[in-house]
Symmetry: C3
Subunit: 207 residues, 3 copies
């Protein structure tokens, strides 16, 4: 399998593809929570993105296992591929769970949390794109710091949302559904922070 493009370049290509899938999934989720019309079609589109993402992830892991010399540490390549994939999986499982729960009306807190998730994925993508160019490491780090800031903002929002959920005399079944929905968005935002932490590790080693 002789190939003139060096293997390292292809790892970065794959990470960029994965981060585009991640943004696409987060963008579709944002559309879904802003407007539940055509919820089924939107959830279906997220499922499609997840399938495509799976294939790229699979290719990265396979290439990693057959590549002797890698541009960045093997465990970091593996972690990045896995964490980017996890973000998409969480968005997909959230969207299908919302269909199951027959959620028909969004909540302002959910819209805001989905917005934070989308911003996080956009910052992750920028960090990944610039990771190819050592002269841009300062900017990569700035994107990572922004992802950390967004995670804190998401955590605060989650607290407010959960607080409201238990206020008054809520319907227990609604509490069960919405607590899960909010917590899965927060989990996806956390996973973006894991990606940012992995990228920071790579920077420190190569800085």
């Amino acid at each position: 399998m002789f190939n003139l493009i060096p293997r390292e370049v292809r790892f970065f290509d794959s990470f960029e593809q994965q981060s585009q899938h991640m943004i696409r999934a987060a963008g579709l989720l944002q559309e879904l929570v802003q407007n539940f019309a055509d919820a089924r079609a939107k959830a279906h589109a997220i499922k499609e993105v997840e399938h495509q993402g799976d294939q790229v992830t699979h290719e990265v892991v396979k290439r990693l296992n057959t590549t002797f010399i890698t541009p960045i540490d093997r465990e970091d390549i593996h972690a990045l591929a896995k964490e980017l994939d996890d973000v998409v999986d969480l968005v997909q499982s959230l969207s299908s769970r919302m269909l199951l729960y027959r959620v028909e009306k969004s909540a302002e807190d959910l819209v805001q949390m989905a917005d934070i998730l989308l911003q996080s994925t956009e910052n992750v993508r920028k960090a990944i794109v610039e990771l190819r160019q050592p002269e841009k490491y300062r900017r990569v780090l700035d994107h990572c710091i922004e992802v950390n800031r967004l995670e804190n903002a998401g955590d605060t929002l989650l607290g407010l949302a959960i607080g409201k959920l238990f206020t008054g005399r809520p319907e227990p079944l609604e509490v069960i559904k919405w607590k899960e929905i909010y917590e899965v968005v927060e989990e996806a935002i956390d996973k973006c922070e894991d990606v940012a932490n992995t990228i920071e590790s790579i920077l420190v080693k190569h800085g």
Copy 2:
């Protein structure tokens, strides 16, 4: 501790033992969810299997830490031992939780999910047994693909089960209990898929 059996063979022996414990636990779970008579005795038997499994896992980790040259990558040995152990732990925690919840009647969806779990564990065991023989790698891969297929089937079933759970005017406490029960079975099936993915990684490296 001079020993004529090479160390690598003993790693494979341990994985086979672990996979037998896993099948035994999944089999007992299937009996339990088919018929809650003698639930306490069945849960107790699962607890026994878990104890035995812990010992094998502990031996693998100890041997790994004192073995310089391993037949397959150290991180893969560690991952396999841990993931096989996790399946048994999940089955054990599920069975004791069902006792706590005084579940006395099963649900058709639970029986089907436990069946998928049992099939997954059987495929994992076959893959592990044949992993010793490079000429059987094609069949190992087939078992892994089957485990992936079963995981998808389990995921679909979980969706149906959760959907039904929230339909009508369910008792919130029942929803809390059953949602957890279904999700833990799905988690055990997912963990079998993790084992299959680890095995696929090993195949790629040695293929």
Copy 3:
């Protein structure tokens, strides 16, 4: 950055600092669950400890990434730092969740579980302090065994607490809150066991 103190000593210093943060957080949690007066101030103090802990964890990871030769395996250093940090994070997220849930009265089972957590953290710290001195490895192991025993005790207590929670005709919203509270304490105790297992791994390699 010339420094006469060898790098390895500083890794152990950091682990000791992390374990002190962990004990401090567990101690504050115990005070909180014994008496919900000044809950907000106690939760705030836990948040402070978490911030300080984050900084030490960050330093360890950074130093690890720029240190070529380490006193113990890199993956063990990384695991220890991460797991010690996770215990503090879990305690922090539990305390802020209890504020959100406006918990005003504790439960005997919660006090006992928080006590087990505190004992676990104290044993973890002793194990870490003595890990510097190979002649004390027997005692390190004893502390690890004690952490394992405490985890089993915590698991039994969790079962009893969950059992009581569902007994009678409980208020579903209370069940949702308290099930989560008990499970997060148990998760923190589990995480202490993970630390003990990592320490045992280090002992086996250096024993």
